[in-house]
Amino acid sequence: MPRVWAVMGLLLFCRVAASSGGEEPSWAELIDGHIQARLDAAGVPRAPVADDAEFLRRVSLDVHGVVPSAAETARFLDSPDPDKRSRWIEQLLADARFGEHLADEWRRRLISPLANENRMQSDRFAAWLAERFNSHAAWDRIVFELLTAEGTMEQNPAVTYLIEGRNPLGVTDLTDLTSRYFLGVRLNCAQCHDHPFVAWTRQDYWGMAAFFAQIQTPGRPKLVHQVGVRDDPRMTLAVLAGQDMIEGFLHQPPTFLGGERLPEGETGVYRRALAHWMTSPENPYFARAAVNRTWWKLFGRGLVQPVDDMHSANPPSHPELLDALARRFIASGFDLRALYRGILNSRTYQQTSRPGEQPDREAELFARMPIKVLTAEQLYDSLVRVLGPPARAKEVNARLGARHEFTQFFADSGDPDPTRYERGIPHLLRLMNSPQFGERNVAALVAQAASPGRSADEVVDELFLAILSRRPTESERELVRKHLSQEGAARPGAYQELAWALLMSSEFSLNH
């Protein structure tokens, strides 16, 4: 099936290339062309381009994981520069926050929720990832390093994935996570039975699992924390199955997904062979998985949906586009910044999230931007940007650091759908009533906004800019005027009420 997509993609690609006068279209043109073609065929109109404020806040949250400051926002909104959007994108991509935010995202995925909760290890791993992203290491290189890392977590943070990415029955979890996050396929059901709808069989699953056999410590899985990851050539699936209880066990030699066996007599380190196969430009899954994962994170929905369930019976919504992007990504040398730059500069990324007449169809066809929920990290970093560092709260045990505690409290489990709001009453009570980001911080923000000589309208503008990264609409301005004049002249207390309401709004907790 991937080959069929490849051929179809190539045909269409040639057509797109031809239509633009033989010159290769830019990434953004490529994206917009394919999206528009499907919209035309379906008769669904495209949403208008987002205004500058919507764009600025969205792209800042997506790339840096934090809202822009009030000053940056005002400068951006007031700038007449026609290229200000692409300039802002370049500025974001060049900043170290790019790698730090990406590291936050990948740390949540690559460290199993079952791992021993050790903030030091997790932070060291995130710092390692951030450094790799920021020093322009290519995605194939980073994944190669993750899969072939050796030693203990203290010596080498890269090895954290192989240790903490798994529960005590390591071989099965590493098989699941590696295929899910790096290849975009769900093999886990095939651990115990052949998948009812999909081509994956138990042979596929255990063939991949066999690559991880050499780094296991059977019988004493937690031993790996002390001795670190190293390869023992005597260790095979059969040995493991003899010593640990492995559900659905099937003896298979190391076999790459798709059926190609590790050559007989190959005595090297299995996972090195796996890493070479996975990150090769010829690998049919690797680049597509990275493209689809990035698209999913930015658009809240994959070209293949669910994001990690790419198989023949679940085709992409835009097969040619996925193929073309994957090919470009490979040609760029697996350069994540190039992929981001391409998507962020497209009209498709920059259109508004306000719905039109057919909201469901629009979402499926990327006719408008979906609305995403801020992750725990985005929420914390944005609160700090707006309100400054958190105050102490007696109910909060921040022994391991305020950011760590906050993100543990607010984090969604698993690999959450970016568009789904999962928080409950405890989270809202805490947002509304915790002194952490409470009166003191809000009072300081208001004091700053209400600097001498500013009119009431200007103070209100400033609070909207600081919190929602935009100026109020006319009707909001009217609403706020009414509120401020409830008890005569504008009181400092009334500004604080406004700031609180803006911070608690859906708009602040979402990325629209």
Partner: protein, 424 residues
């Protein structure tokens, strides 16, 4: 033999056979002489209590297995429990001891998740709802000020969440019963709070009109539920100072006893499931000093749990409230050189009381050393299927999880589910 009991026996025998009759058995339980229970209190014993030193004592076993405690008689002839449960021994007629729990996970986190959700946790996989969230979903009334699921005490948060059921069924956590719900009072005066909340609702409406997003709807709905709780009369259920001192004493003044008291108050206020987490994730994990620690913990459980059962009974709520006592596994028959016991999932005990079950019985049997199940092994799915049935929940009902093709039944029916019909 009465007609009803003949019929029950027939159904019980039939239910053991096939899924169809299993369904008949549940139907019978729901329509026959057992009106379904309406609420559930789960007493969670973090760390895994030793079955040999609580509800499955083995006086005939050799010294190094038998341990230090002696069995005592209960109000039910032939049933003995640990000498450190004198109060519970008086209430045995209301309870059933399940002595043949036999499960597969012996790691704390994995077992805690498995026993709470009925599914095994896989890295990166579906996140499954806990029993409390499922009860809240199935039995909870919508549009009430209190959440339908409350967790009291510090403990394993990863296993008690709503998973794919979403924010409406997320538990409200009360970390310390003496402190009540954290952040339930506004930082400002009530008047100022209402003023700013009023402004907020206008902003919410205006955003929702422009963007019509499901995530915004969910955020606003959760926000208004949180504010409704803050401003409700019923939040007094979280305030233990409303209880007479004598009642507070009767439950024991520790976090567990006070948690049991809060659970009773919450059930009376309409909450469908309350989980009281004992021991901050580790208390019963007695790899060393098993006997002094188990003795102290047992004393706390005895006072709190007995007060709960009796109080529920005196207030006419015991038949409609199922009390479940359980941990994530049992402990090894062999004692270690540090006087401890290690993890043991092959054979262990749980206790059910109230909820209209047929009390005063023991289900299942282990061997001389309480190491293996001899009779009536009870899996996680058997156990949770039975709890659902007692509560009047059809455990075969299927849910849809976002991004998952297959429907997911409340209890994993791809595994065999053998209900404990003798309790129904």
């Amino acid at each position: 033999m009465s007609a009803a009991s003949t019929r029950r026996r027939f159904l019980a025998a039939a239910a053991a056979g096939s899924t169809l009759t299993g369904w008949l058995g549940r139907l019978a339980a729901a329509t026959d002489d057992h009106p379904p229970a309406k609420s559930c209190i789960l007493l969670w014993m973090s760390g895994g209590p030793s079955h040999l030193d609580t509800f499955d004592l083995k006086p005939q076993a050799p010294d190094h297995i038998r341990g230090e405690f002696r069995p005592i008689d209960t109000t039910v002839p032939g049933i003995q429990i640990s000498e450190h449960f004198p109060q519970l021994a008086r209430l045995m007629q209301h309870a059933a001891i399940l002595r043949s729990m036999s499960t597969v996970e012996s790691d704390h986190q994995l077992a805690t998740y498995h026993l709470h959700t009925g599914y095994q946790q896989r890295a990166g996989g579906v996140s499954f709802p806990s029993l409390g969230s499922m009860v809240a979903r199935e039995l909870g009334e919508r549009d009430v000020p209190l959440p339908n699921f409350v967790c009291i005490g510090a403990g394993p948060r990863h296993a008690t969440r709503a998973g794919f059921l979403g924010p409406d069924f997320q538990p409200l956590d009360v970390t310390d019963p003496a402190r009540g719900v954290d952040f339930i009072e506004p930082l400002t005066t009530p008047n100022q709070f209402l003023r700013q909340y009023d402004l907020l609702t206008h902003l919410e409406t205006s955003f929702q009109e422009r963007y019509r997003a499901e995530a915004a709807r969910a955020h606003s709905a959760t926000l208004s539920r949180a504010v409704r709780l803050m401003t409700s009369e019923q939040k007094r259920a979280f305030d233990l100072s409303q209880e007479p001192e004598a009642v507070r004493d009767r439950y024991g003044r520790g976090a567990f006893g006070q948690g049991c008291l809060m659970a009773r108050r919450l059930i009376e206020a309409g909450v469908r499931c309350v989980e009281v987490l004992m021991g901050d994730g580790v208390a019963w994990d007695t790899h060393r000093d098993n006997f002094p620690r188990t003795r102290a913990l047992s004393a706390e459980v005895d006072v709190g749990m007995a007060a709960l059962i009796e109080d529920l009974q005196q207030r006419g709520r015991l038949d409609s409230t199922l009390v479940v006592w359980m941990g994530e596994f049992g402990r090894s028959p062999q004692t270690t050189s540090d006087g401890g016991r290690n993890h043991w999932a092959k054979a262990w005990s749980t206790v059910l009381a109230g909820g209209g079950i047929r009390g005063g019985q023991v289900v299942g049997r282990t061997d001389r050393d309480a190491a293996e199940v001899l009779d009536r092994p009870i899996s996680v799915t058997d156990f949770l299927g039975t709890i659902c049935t007692i509560l009047g929940i059809d455990y075969t009902r299927e849910n849809r999880a976002p991004g998952v093709e297959r429907p997911i039944p409340i209890v994993d029916t791809t595994k065999e589910v053998r209900l404990l019909t003798e309790l129904l």
